[in-house]
Every structure is written in structure tokens, then in C-alpha cells.
Symmetry: C2
Subunit: 253 residues, 2 copies
DNA sequence: GAAGCGCAGTAACATAGGTTAGTTTACCTG
DNA sequence: CAGGTAAACTAACCTATGTTACTGCGCTTC
């Protein structure tokens, strides 16, 4: 089995505890959800297609996926990354059709949640539901920060910023250690994420490498100097809304 | 009194009816909220400041405001426009500090809603609450589309796209008629919205003018050919999630 | 109605990033 | 192990957009 599909049991609880104190009952409720029947998808597979009816909330359990939107002429913008423990579109029961697609980047495992699940959490595990809302607001804040990234930052800044953000997010769920993590993303995909051409992404990574900030080699990203990288990126982790310890963690790679 | 501060009584109901059928009781509940004590702010005033505790949801009643975020070196990205009938950050009780600011662009009038209001709407006017969630999801979709805009579209496409979107949104609340609307935004602000320099915004508007697509003169925008403009912009209104008639409306300026 | 100011418009020049195209490397497949 | 393919890398060249700097207009203020 692909390493990407391995289940990490308490990864979601770990993330949510950055936001709220969860009771043992909350954790157990989470655990029950986490163990449900899951679905897998191979890389490049569309998990959700633009135009489809939403059909429920996906809870990502393992692997990377991304949300993207295509223009009529084939240009593609990647809008967000879904990492293990992320929820795709809390609340999207409300809409009739998806306005974007979601694609697996690695082999992916996820489980489906329905409106009933959230109703029952709201009444029975309000604290947990509260944490899920928090997570949802953070996802919105990340989307805004990507807007800032594309609108204001130069190529180096943009890439550096993306790497800082991914590092922090992965660290929170225990998937980044000692300044390194798996980055299963081609340069073409990176390009569609940061709004640059693939060629320029390559140049820019080279630049970052030559400044001894990071190295990306064979899907493994190593950050040599997180402080320096975040200062190049003008990275301010406030938008990730981590609790004090989390923010501190972000400050020291 | 500034024309910007005039209250338009059923503007919010008009918008929400694009999403859900509201009962007379829903409309009355909305109306009661709409009549509450309101606050005004002069142009350029920060209504919300980055770092502040959230302090409740603002319902915009009149005038234009924008959400923005600044980088440490002074660059500014405008993240969204708040038009009359828009809610700032449904659900933001959950966060501790704002990660962005909100500024009035014109004189602005708004009213504050608390968590209690939403609790009571959830139990007593679920259909209305549903419509508010819809509106919130549309706001998220708009944020994503801005990401696409900045990441993939050229200068002309970007500006054209912004104008298309504003036209449709304003039309939905009855503030755009016959292809024209008030656009109380300086070119510098436009520049910070679309991630271009002010000089290039000027050039690009000239370009659009010379193609006989739109004219922006003294805060008044006239769209001469919405079809052509949306095709230049690669504008697809699906992300605004209007009901069938609304989408149709968007298609014919 | 003169002075001052913010905003829009333009021209001339500079540069970040895009494009095309070709090479290398790693990996997969038979 | 040969051949094929996707991804990364590089060089040379091109262009969209940024920068600087100046002009003129339409308000406001006294």
C-alpha cells in the first residue's frame, strides 16, 4: 500500500486541539468519525467535479488533494491544498452545484460526512463543532492570504510564503519534522498554485536553493532556515490563528 | 446627508430571494434587523482593525467598504468589497483576533449582529438562516474567484472580470441599471484590488474604453457591451450561484 | 478667484516574469 | 537492459507590467 494512504489516527484531534480544548467524549466522537468507511482515489483523479451537485463534506484522512478552477481556455488555478485532517467545504450542502473541482495529488483516502453528522455534533458535541468552525474560518483566512500572495508578492516571496504556510500546517498535524516534509507536487502544479510559469518556478526554486533557504529534491522539501525564509516571504502566521504555543512553534522552525 | 448613507429598505431581502424563497415572517424578521440602530463611518475610516477582537458581525446597510490586508513593508491587498446587504464574516465570533482590516470607501452605514441573533434565527427562521449561509458560501466563492483572477488573468482580463462581477452583484441588490453603476473607487484602490500598479490600471481602463467596452468617468461606470466584456474577462457567473433567473440576468446586461 | 491637493492621464524607460525550445535525469515498462 | 515518458533544468529571447516623473483637471478652502 502506498505510504500516502496510511491512516494517522489522531491527526485531526491534534489539529483541532490547537484551537479548542476537547473533552475525552469529543475525542471519541472524532475517533468514531475517523474510523468510518473510507474511499480512496488515485493521483490525478477528480474527487469532485465542477458542475456536480455537492453530495456531502469530505474529510481528508490521508494524502494530498487540491481544489482548482479552470478557465475556458484551459488555464488552471489551484485554489487550495487539502491535507490530512482537512474538511472540504463545511456547509456546502447549501449550494446546488460545485463551482470548482477537487483532484487527488497523491493517492488519497477520505470519508464522507452528511448534514446529519453536523446536526448531531452541533447538539451533542458543541465544543467539537466549534472547533470545526474554527478550522473552517482558518481555511477562509488561508484563501484570503493566497489572494494577498498572488496580488502583492514577487515570485520568490510567493513561493517562500507557500512553503512557510505548508510547513506550519503540516507541523500542526505532525507531518513536518526538523524542517523537512514531503511535498508531492510537481513544478507545473506549483506554477498553477502561485500563478507563475513552470519555468519561472524552476528558476525561483533555484534562487531559494542558492540562498541556502530551502531545497526541494525528489518530492522532499528541506527548510534550512525557517526564520530567513519567512522574512523573505513576509510570512506572518497570524492568519493561521494558532493558539499561542502554535504561533510560537511557527516562529521557530 | 450623503447619498451613500440612504437606507434601501428591502435590499437584503431582494438579494436573499435570489437564493431561497422567504416567507413573509422571514421578511419581517429581516426587516426588524434592518431597522436596528445603525452606525455610520466616514470614508477612509477603519471599521475593523487587524489585531482587534472580532466583536460581532456587521451587516452593511449603505455605502461601500473593503476588506484589506497589509504587508509589513506597506503593500496593501484589497481582499473583498462589502456592498449594501453584505455581511462581514458570518461566524467570526469563533476567532480571537482579526487577521485583516475593513475600511469604509464611501460614507457607510452598518448595524451589528451578535451570536444571539444567529442562534435565534437558526431555531426560529431556519429558512432565512439557510439563505444567510448561502450568501456566506457565495462570499467564499468570490474570494476563490479573486484568487483565480490574480493568478491567471492578464491585466485587461482582471479589470474586466472585476467590473463584470460588480455589475452582477450590484444588479442583484438593485443598484445597477441599464449597464451603469456608481463605482466609488479610486484607481489606486482598484490597483490594490487587482494587483497591478495604478499607472497600469489607468492604461488598462483606457484600453477597455478604446475597445468600447466600458467607460469609467467621475465615479460612474458605464458598460457598453456586457457580453463582450464578459468574454474578454472569461467571466463565468456560476461562482455567484444565482438561481436560474439571476444567472440569465447576468448573461444579458 | 488663487492656492493647494488628490486624482487621472501619459510618456519614456526598466525589469520581472513569460515563451520556446532543447538537454538531462529519473523512472517505468516490456 | 533498451526504449519511452514525465519531470526538472537551462539558455536566449520577448513582452506585459512596473517605475519615475511630469501634466492637467476639478474640487475644496480661504
Amino acid at each position: 500500500m502506498s505510504k500516502w494512504l496510511e491512516r494517522q489516527p489522531d491527526l485531526l484531534a491534534r489539529k483541532l486541539e490547537h484551537f479548542a480544548r476537547l473533552s475525552p467524549e469529543d475525542i471519541e466522537a472524532l475517533d468514531r468519525i475517523w474510523r468510518r468507511k473510507s474511499v480512496t482515489a488515485p493521483p490525478q483523479d477528480d474527487i469532485v467535479r465542477q458542475g456536480d451537485p455537492p453530495g456531502g463534506v469530505r474529510l481528508m484522512q490521508a494524502g494530498w488533494a487540491c481544489r482548482y478552477r479552470m478557465l475556458a481556455d484551459g488555464r488552471r488555478q489551484i485554489l487550495s491544498f487539502f491535507l490530512p485532517g482537512d474538511l472540504c467545504d463545511l456547509n456546502n450542502f447549501v449550494l446546488r452545484r460545485m463551482d470548482h473541482s477537487v483532484m487527488a495529488l497523491t493517492p488519497v483516502r477520505y470519508t464522507m460526512l452528511g448534514a446529519e453528522d453536523f446536526d448531531s455534533l452541533t447538539t451533542r458535541r458543541p465544543r467539537l463543532m466549534h472547533a470545526l468552525w474554527w478550522d473552517n474560518l482558518v481555511a477562509m483566512a488561508i484563501q484570503r492570504e493566497w489572494t494577498v500572495n498572488l496580488g502583492q508578492r514577487s515570485a520568490v516571496e510567493r513561493l517562500a510564503h507557500l512553503l512557510c504556510e505548508l510547513y506550519v500546517r503540516l507541523h500542526v498535524i505532525g507531518l513536518a519534522n526538523g524542517g523537512a516534509f514531503d511535498l508531492p507536487i510537481t513544478q507545473v502544479e506549483l506554477a498553477d498554485t502561485v500563478g507563475l510559469s513552470p519555468v519561472h518556478v524552476s528558476r525561483t526554486l533555484k534562487d531559494l536553493r542558492e540562498r541556502n533557504l530551502v531545497q526541494l529534491h525528489r518530492g522532499k522539501l528541506e527548510i534550512f532556515d525557517f526564520q530567513a525564509l519567512s522574512s523573505v516571504a513576509l510570512f506572518r502566521p497570524d492568519y493561521l490563528h494558532l493558539a499561542a504555543e502554535g504561533a510560537h512553534l511557527a516562529a521557530n522552525a
